[in-house]
């Protein structure tokens, strides 16, 4: 067996998976997106751009997604970074593993059930009731974009914490001593050494969370009360309710293209930020 054929053999499972789970479905979606809806739903072969022309009908869903996905990513980052920093830099090494496990523990339960828990926390008998007890009356949290944001941050926090944690954990602590030795206060050391050194982790975490948020539908459906509508929710309705496969495919294809464009732009930005750095490894 030649080296080349061995390599091909090694790649075969991944290649087959890639073909069956990604290339073929995407091709089908692309073909469907130029078709038409059947009378009782489904797909009728055709070649028309009508479905793409109809995209503005889902503009609101795209707008919501394009606002809430970056907002959710940013919010996750702002909460995850201090946590990851504490775990990696400050936490007592004896407790580090325990604390890390605590970060993962929620992942043992389905996101569905965890999101349901938030219905009760954010509902009238939860946090608003506590606020009412201290005199802040009639706070409505559940079924708002804010509730969706909370659900997103809660659901995706570990995905943000881990890359940053790994990055900070690997950070040579002697660099922090060196910075201090050279006259930088702890805060300036953070800004000039820790933060720039953890950029790869931040970039990875943001990418992971952002990509998943672009396709999100569960959290807005549960915590947005059906009023906060992502592209993912539009797709679920198009395929399962109105059974408009052609238009659904056009929306899906547009989402994929949008994601590709955004992620490519993002990767280029990160590359430029860490231009000559050897240790910018994104994934």
């Amino acid at each position: 067996m030649t080296q080349r054929s061995r390599n091909l053999l090694l790649l075969a499972p991944a290649g087959a998976w890639f073909l069956v789970m990604l290339v073929i479905p995407l091709t089908v979606v692309l073909i469907f997106s130029f078709g038409e809806r059947g009378a009782a739903g489904g797909y009728v072969p055709a070649f028309t751009l009508d479905q793409y022309a109809n995209l503005p009908a889902r503009w609101a869903a795209f707008k919501n997604t394009l606002i809430l996905a970056p907002a959710g990513t940013l919010a996750s980052l702002l909460i995850a970074y201090p946590l990851a920093y504490y775990l990696a830099v400050r936490a007592d090494p004896r407790w580090k593993t325990v604390l890390l496990v605590l970060v993962i523990v929620p992942f043992w339960t389905s996101i569905l059930i965890r999101s349901y828990a938030w219905i009760f926390l954010l509902g009238g008998r939860g946090i608003p009731a506590l606020l009412a007890a201290i005199g802040i009356e009639d706070v409505r949290l559940i079924n708002t974009p804010f509730a969706v944001l909370i659900g997103i941050v809660y659901g995706y926090l570990p995905l943000m914490v881990f890359p940053i944690f790994v990055n900070l954990d690997r950070l040579d602590k002697r660099l922090l001593e060196a910075s201090s030795d050279l006259g930088a206060s702890p805060w300036r050391t953070f800004l000039q050494v820790t933060l720039p050194m953890s950029l790869p982790g931040i970039a990875t975490g943001c990418l992971l969370v952002f990509i998943l948020l672009m396709g999100e539908f569960l959290i807005p459906a549960i915590l947005g009360g059906g009023k906060v509508f992502f592209v993912g929710n539009a797709l679920v309705d198009l395929f399962l309710q109105s059974r408009n496969w052609a238009f659904g495919s056009a929306v899906a294809a547009t989402l994929v293209i949008l994601m590709l464009v955004t992620v490519t732009a993002y990767m280029r930005l990160i590359r430029r930020l860490g231009a000559q750095r050897e240790d910018v490894a994104l994934m």
């Binding site: 030795d181 300036r188 000039q192 050494v193 050194m197 750095r277």
Partner: protein, 377 residues
């Protein structure tokens, strides 16, 4: 050439020590890493902490840098107690063992880092000028815009040095700076480091476990063991007048014959060693009759002769091994009572009487002044 830029800062230290440790101890849990350190460091001197790993030399350095606060005792810089002064507020800089250069910054940015932390922040052109000067001093002109990972180990070491000296610290601390360099590069750097120190007149404190490095570079050496300072002195003092067997063993090599003091007259002691043999030697510090001591004889103090001169006592030995070292030849010999010991004979001596061969039976002898009676510790 750059002397003007790095004239030693005006200091009260011309009148007294620039840094002092007064009965400094540091405890980590159950471990006493530093135990009652007393030391005065003079302005402009090159001082080394020498000892095996775990002896407390790095702890002493970190206490001076401010990374560790002493458990008891006082640390003084320029006459002021600085026990609780944060490292970033101390006029002290360190060259780290593995350099700890910032990988996300260029060479010039690394070197200018300390200057940029100053408040008020110096003007950009002043920083640039100082960085350039520092690069010249470490002979890295033109490397300003390189990335750290593009530099070799030796070059990184120079960058680390430049990053420290550019701040004109009152103390420059070097934590085993040459440990990661290969032997040849290490030799070159030792000489260069010494030159830079002389030229700048800066106070250097070096931590090393390499006695050769310490002996060749330092004005003074501080020998440490188990968290304590055993002896501080010039290399010659330590070599000629070691306080105890440990120092004699650490500075140069020596043959030790353990025994018990039989009699003392002035600084001369008679020591009974193995096989009922009594050796005479000069006691560096006072010893008492009955005390367990070691008689130390440096290998180069011992002569080998084929014929025994009747007026001098000699020890009949057999040559076990011979190593030719060029200027010297090193012999491992064995006396039936004293056991094995080393002899180093100069080439000069070989020309008249040697060379000697393995298995040959000879007389080994030394001058009375060549033997030192040392306390065990």
């Amino acid at each position: 050439m750059n002397k003007a830029a790095y004239a030693p800062p005006p200091s009260k230290a011309t009148l007294g020590p620039i840094a002092e440790l007064r009965n400094v101890s540091k405890r980590f849990g159950d471990i006493l890493a530093a135990d009652g350190l007393d030391l005065s460091i003079m302005s402009g001197e090159f001082l080394s902490f020498l000892g095996p790993s775990g002896c407390g030399k790095t702890t002493a350095l970190r206490i001076l840098a401010g990374f560790e606060a002493p458990t008891t005792g006082e640390v003084l810089l320029d006459g002021e107690i600085v026990n609780d002064l944060d490292p970033f507020r101390r006029p002290v800089n360190m060259v780290f063992q593995h350099y700890a250069l910032f990988p996300h910054l260029t060479v010039a940015q690394n070197i200018g880092y300390g200057l940029r932390q100053r408040r008020p922040r110096p003007p950009r052109d002043e920083i640039e000028r100082k960085v350039k000067t520092a690069l010249e001093i470490v002979r890295l002109e033109g490397f300003e815009d390189r990335r750290i990972w593009e530099m070799s180990g030796g070059q990184q070491q120079r960058v680390a040095l430049a990053r420290a000296i550019v701040n004109e610290p009152k103390l420059l601390l070097l934590d085993e700076p040459m440990a990661a360099l290969d032997r040849k590069l290490r030799k070159e750097m030792q000489i260069e480091l010494q030159n830079i120190q002389r030229r700048l007149g800066m106070t250097f404190i070096l931590v090393t476990h390499d006695q050769e490095e310490a002996l060749s570079m330092s004005d003074r050496i501080c020998i440490m063991r188990d968290g304590r300072i055993v002896q501080t002195g010039t290399p010659r003092e330590l070599y000629d007048q070691p306080r105890n067997r440990y120092v004699a063993g650490f500075v140069g090599t020596s043959n030790f014959f353990d025994g018990v003091v039989e009699s003392v007259a002035a600084d001369q002691a008679q020591v009974s060693v193995k096989g009922g043999i009594v050796l005479a030697g000069r006691a560096i510090s006072p010893v008492a009759v009955g005390q367990e001591v070691s008689v130390s004889v440096r290998p180069e103090q011992i002569r080998l002769e084929r014929a025994n001169a009747a007026d001098r006592p000699g020890w009949p030995v057999t040559i076990l091994n011979r190593i030719f070292l060029g200027e010297h030849t090193e012999y491992l010999v064995k006396h039936e009572s004293l056991g094995e010991f080393m002899v180093l004979t100069p080439r000069q001596a070989e020309l008249s009487d040697g060379p000697f061969n393995a298995g040959e039976r000879l007389m080994a002898l030394w001058e009375a002044g060549g033997a030192l009676v040392l306390k065990q510790d």
